[in-house]
């Protein structure tokens, strides 16, 4: 059991994050080199289905902690359960996708386990028996190679979309071991009162396509054409700090150093000049399209495709074009 690689499956209300499966993909390739299997950790309430999905992506076994006290995410019971299981079974490696939940869960469990956490890895390789992870620091301007020296487990969160998505094998199955949560409900001081979820909007976290607006959209109503294009593409709406600070769009949309760091397949920047702080949040996008009136805007240095022109003409034209092409 000790040489199993553990993968922590991140979920919200039973919906798993895609990066959880990417983590299984990474674990599979590491298990191939280190020996042993991949064990999925599924915590939540009514989440047995996720363990079965984990088998399809390559997990060989799973620990399922299914309990009403885990219905809402709260770090204390999640971290205590992770730490208790790991201190008993002593895995070499625990991998999870980077998210607000996994960051907190791993950080708290690491204190209990006397180890550390490597967050937001974009590459991981095995060298002399130890995992070496590469991660962006200083807002993505620099990279560092990080290791967990002697302490175990080696706990790593991986950046969503940085590792390939494994193929699902519909017929695969595995053994599910059930375990109890480490804390009783009475022992958890934090209580969840409810959620204020902005309905119907795609979050920029983990989005495959992001359409972003900046100072050039000129006001809150300027995000309408941006939203229309995003809708046709099934994309999330992003924004530069200038647009957020001006109050045109709420903060969760902000991409950049003091906002979200994203790595979509396609990033369309409309009316964004490309300040260093913005580039820090989206430079790892596979394809960047810049639409700007100013042909000297720094965003063009990073873009694969550039359009010099008025976003209020180009973006609606693109929306119409994609409506036709995508049959919407």
């Amino acid at each position: 059991m000790a040489n199993n690689i553990w993968v922590y499956i991140d979920q919200f209300k039973g919906n798993p994050s895609q990066a959880s499966w990417e983590a299984i993909g990474l674990a599979k390739s590491l298990a191939h080199q280190m020996g042993g299997g991949v064990m999925a950790l599924v915590f939540g309430s009514g989440v047995e289905e996720l363990a079965k999905t984990a088998f399809q992506y390559g997990a060989t076994t799973a620990i399922l902690v299914d309990d009403p006290s885990l219905a809402d995410f709260r770090v204390e019971p999640y971290a205590a359960t992770l730490a208790k299981l790991a201190s008993k079974q002593k895995p070499e490696v625990i991998i999870g996708p980077t998210s607000t939940r996994v960051r907190d869960t791993f950080a708290m469990a690491a204190v209990d386990l006397g180890t550390g956490v490597i967050v937001d890895a974009t590459a991981v390789e095995l060298k002399d028996g130890t995992l070496q992870a590469v991660r962006p620091v200083y807002a993505g301007k620099l990279l560092t190679t990080v290791i967990c020296k002697e302490k175990r487990p080696q706990m790593i969160t991986i950046r969503p979309r940085a590792f390939p998505m494994p193929e699902a094998n519909r017929g695969a199955s595995g053994e599910i071991n059930k375990a109890a949560p480490a804390l009783a409900e009475e022992a958890v001081a934090t209580k969840v009162v409810g959620y204020l979820v902005e309905e119907g909007e795609v979050s920029v976290d983990g989005a495959a396509i992001i359409v972003s607006g900046g100072r050039g959209v000129n006001g809150p109503e300027g995000f309408e054409p941006i939203r229309n294009l995003a809708k046709v593409l099934g994309a999330a709406v992003g924004a530069s700090r200038a647009a957020v600070d001006a109050g045109w769009i709420p903060y969760p949309h902000q991409v950049g150093q003091t906002g979200k760091v994203v790595s979509p397949d396609l990033y369309i920047a409309a009316g964004i000049s490309g300040a260093v702080q913005h580039l820090a949040g989206m430079r790892t996008a596979k394809v960047i399209v810049a639409i700007n009136k100013d042909n000297e805007a720094p965003i063009f240095n990073l873009a694969k495709y550039g359009v010099v022109g008025d976003l209020f003409e180009i973006v609606p034209a693109l929306t119409e074009e994609f409506k036709k092409r995508l049959g919407k």
Partner: protein, 264 residues
């Protein structure tokens, strides 16, 4: 209400960074208070205005971090302490959190510890969570609104920003809270504040002042090590300009490219 705000000194977010001999340098660009931590001290000051008590700023770092602490005094924090010791060099997030937790305990009666959600240099976002664990207090992370505090009943209600939206939750005090942008508008130091801060002496706490165990701090006490650091490789992208007579023509050409690239 006694509140501790933990702050880190970092290079300016607009600084041009260079790596020389595996060390990061930023020329003559100024060192600043980590931008996320400005939201933490601002929230601490707002809570003091409402409930009374004091705000204590703590920073772990080299002596240069005194400047960042002076900024905290200039905006109105009541006290500031520097945790500084050569044996702390190379501390990872956990060793840093252990040391900060000891510093919070040395302050004495504390109801709330406030952090920015992460520092813009290491970008780990682990320290607040780990401090909460070392102290054995509740953690409320990524908080965008402190909705209620009842200092007598020792309860707190907040809105936390998760990927899917806001989670509203309650917890008991004392607690550790990490905050994000949007919670407030950090104030600027006043002229009088700057004058007062420039004259202040900021006490420094060493590892032995805090009773830190040598085996738990510095590079020897850290599980995590950075082996090297280097600039992000520059992606060789020469921008391809898409031109046309009409927006429709440009849109059609661009759509061709993006479909060929398989990104839509």
């Amino acid at each position: 209400m006694n509140i501790v705000t933990c702050i880190k000194q970092t290079p300016d977010s607009a600084a041009k960074l260079q790596v020389v001999d595996n060390k990061v340098t930023w020329g003559d660009s100024p060192l600043i208070v980590n931008p996320w931590d400005e939201y933490a001290y601002e929230e601490a000051l707002l809570l003091r205005e409402k409930f009374g008590g004091k705000v204590v700023a703590i920073s772990l770092g080299p002596e240069s971090a005194l400047e960042a602490l002076k900024t905290c005094l200039a905006v109105g924090c009541d006290e500031a302490y520097l945790v500084s010791d050569p044996t702390l060099a190379g501390s990872d997030a956990s060793a840093t959190a252990y040391s900060l937790a000891k510093a919070v305990q040395k302050v004495g009666e504390v109801d709330l510890v406030l952090f920015g959600k992460q520092a813009i240099d290491g970008d780990s976002g682990l320290t607040a969570t780990m401090v909460a664990r070392y102290l054995g207090w509740s953690l409320l992370s990524y908080v965008i609104k402190i909705a209620e505090i009842d200092p007598t009943a020792k309860t707190i209600k907040v809105e936390r920003m998760m990927e899917e939206g806001r989670q509203v939750c309650t917890a008991k005090l004392p607690a550790v809270v990490s905050v994000i942008k949007g919670i407030n508008e950090p104030r600027y130091p006043s002229f009088m504040g700057i004058r007062k801060a420039s004259k202040a002496t900021i006490p420094a706490w060493s590892a032995s002042d805090l009773g830190l165990e040598p085996s738990k701090i510095g590079s020897t006490g850290s599980a995590i090590a950075w082996l090297d650091i280097y600039p992000m490789p520059v992606k060789e992208t020469r921008v391809e300009m898409i031109e046309g007579e009409t927006p429709q023509e440009i849109a059609a050409k661009l759509a061709d490219k993006l479909i060929a690239d398989k990104v839509v």
